[in-house]
Symmetry: C2
Subunit: 343 residues, 2 copies
DNA sequence: GCTTAGCACTCGCCTTTCGGGAGTGCTAAC
DNA sequence: GTTAGCACTCCCGAAAGGCGAGTGCTAAGC
């Protein structure tokens, strides 16, 4: 990533063009810049600089008699070197903070609400990859008989995520047996991370499995199964319609492409799960996913106890309000991390 | 609802116009009908009949030199009296049946998948109002200590719906106390419908509440709270993008209106929850919700043990494949009822 | 008396045409 | 290196015109 390879005046003009285009969605001409931004330069000078910037690949012209817009490379330079640091407004800060102060809800609704607030503040579609169970720790495991033939297995993690499954039994089981199995499972599992289950815990349990009847085996299988099902973390979405406010999606086709991406959990998952590195911006064709190649994606990871567990992100047109979105995403990720860690 | 008020030939022409318009989305002219449907009538005759139908309010013209399209009243007559009964194809039947044969998943995913299959078969956006808890029966209630200060309350219904909440305690509680409370709750609640809780059960429990310590009170409050939160049933959605395949939504504005409706749980809830009467079709402005007034909504209720518990529906343009959608919605509602009742 | 052929007429839609305007690149002067 | 001037390009929106689908009416036919 080449920074500072342009001289200051070219940088200034690239910045002004990008800022203006982000705001107006219209190609920016030399005259507009001279009039609007008072750079102390004549349109002709600006034209010369813009021609150079175009030659360097930072700007492009939709057609010969239009103004310039940033190219993908231009956005990249802007994001890396020119973008202003944008502080969140007092209202925004208050909104986010006050939202995370309410601790009474269950985790799923908190996550859903977090995406909603992200979409609301950025006015772009927002995505979240729910917390992975990998670093999660068993807090409680229990078998509960629902009827003669149905057994409920309950798994609670330290983060408050609760999984439950029902197993149908071949034959009735005595409460005492269940309690014993629950007791052993808890003794072995409590405090252990999920990730150890398949590797080490399973081995340790082998003898107990032998010693006990089929229930134990079933319970263990169910835990395994649950861990695997939950391996693909849930994806949360909100504010998809926001994308319709932007002229680049006025043609239904463009919108449909994106909408299809949004309905494909698998693709979203791929898009988000590869992003384990703090705040990340990918612009246009830097995105692998074809449907997102006219978009930019800004993501940040959130953590529990210092360990990355998930990702939140915002998807918008390449002509996106980078500065603002970066601040919002970053701050919300941070607050969410604090929140989850405090549970 | 006036049926059979048109003479047979007018009915025939209304039916043909409607069928053709549903298929082609283009206004239908007299010539087209004469050529395509071989009614043994000349275009001129058909024109006369169409003029009569227009006068009667069954057809309308988008503009004077275009063909006719059905009016809302025309669709209504079509739906009430003319619509052919459409059998599902063998593939469709197999798909639905095979889907409901797999009994291993949890209820939430079953409901989500049901909407998905509905959207897939109809090619319209599909909605479901999740089963109400009103007629649900307590199957199991239990308090489980997670740590010194956290208590999990678990409520299982006969339909396999599982609710859980965590309460923070002021002070530690002995396992014995918890077991006793769980025992009493189960004894009192098992087999009783949720709806009795607030009215009669609560009264019966009053003495126990007094006799026991604060836990009991807390648990009861939490159950109350859970029942109330779950009072608004969950809404499931799928296939919203399908709407983009239809020319009436090519303008982004139209689509946006509908999309906003889809994001407003409250409105969807109102739209669906008022439909306790088997299969129902509402056309255009028969819908209360403004955003749906260029749409038709076809819904059916599903039942558990003979009692209506929820609604599934399909939303499409008024120019909708009524016959096909009716069959699909009806059949899926029926299969879903059987499925849920068998749990 | 209903049905139909003929015909004039209407009107949306598509294509073409045609300025106007915004913006450029080049050149020459400062 | 900067800037004024100017010719040139080309998108865009409005206006114009022709096409075609479809109609309603009239008068003749069965």
């Amino acid at each position: 990533m080449s920074r500072r390879e342009l001289d200051p005046r070219k940088e200034l003009i690239l910045k002004v063009v990008t800022d203006d285009y982000i705001e107006s969605a219209e190609p920016v001409g030399s005259r507009t810049i001279a009039r609007k931004y008072n750079l102390g330069l004549s349109p002709a000078t600006i034209r010369n600089e813009m021609a150079d910037l175009e030659e360097g690949g930072y700007l492009k012209q939709p057609h010969v008699s239009a103004g310039r817009i940033p190219s993908q490379q231009g956005y990249r330079y802007y994001v890396d070197a020119l973008m202003p640091q944008k502080e969140l407004t007092e209202e925004e800060l208050t909104l986010i903070r006050s939202y995370f102060e309410d601790r009474s809800r269950e985790i799923d609704s908190i996550l859903q609400q977090t995406v909603k607030i992200l979409a609301q503040l950025t006015r772009y579609p927002s995505i979240m990859l729910g917390p992975t169970l990998k670093p999660a720790v068993f807090k409680h495991v229990q078998l509960i008989p629902l009827s003669a033939r149905d057994l409920l297995i309950l798994i609670v993690t330290d983060m408050g995520i609760i999984e439950n499954r029902v197993i149908a039994l071949d034959s009735p089981v005595a409460q005492g047996d269940l309690d014993r199995v629950s007791y052993i499972l808890n003794k072995r599992l409590r405090g252990r991370p999920f990730i150890d289950f398949k590797s080490s815990v399973l081995r340790e349990l082998r003898e107990e499995i032998k010693a006990n009847n089929g229930i134990f085996q079933k319970a263990v299988n169910l835990i395994l199964n649950t861990l695997e099902t939950r391996d693909k973390e849930r994806i949360y979405l909100d504010g998809i319609i926001n994308i319709l406010d932007h002229p680049e999606f006025k043609q239904v086709e463009k919108f449909k492409l994106l909408m299809e991406l949004m309905e494909e959990e698998e693709k979203l998952y791929r898009l988000l799960s590869s992003r384990q590195q703090g705040l990340k911006i990918s612009i246009g064709e830097e995105n692998q996913e074809e449907a997102a190649q006219e978009c930019s994606l800004i993501t940040a990871n959130y953590e529990v106890g210092g360990q990355v567990v998930g990702t939140i992100g915002v998807l918008g047109p390449t002509r996106m309000e980078y500065a603002h979105v970066v601040s919002v995403v970053d701050y919300i990720a941070q607050k969410l991390s604090e929140f989850l860690s405090s549970l």
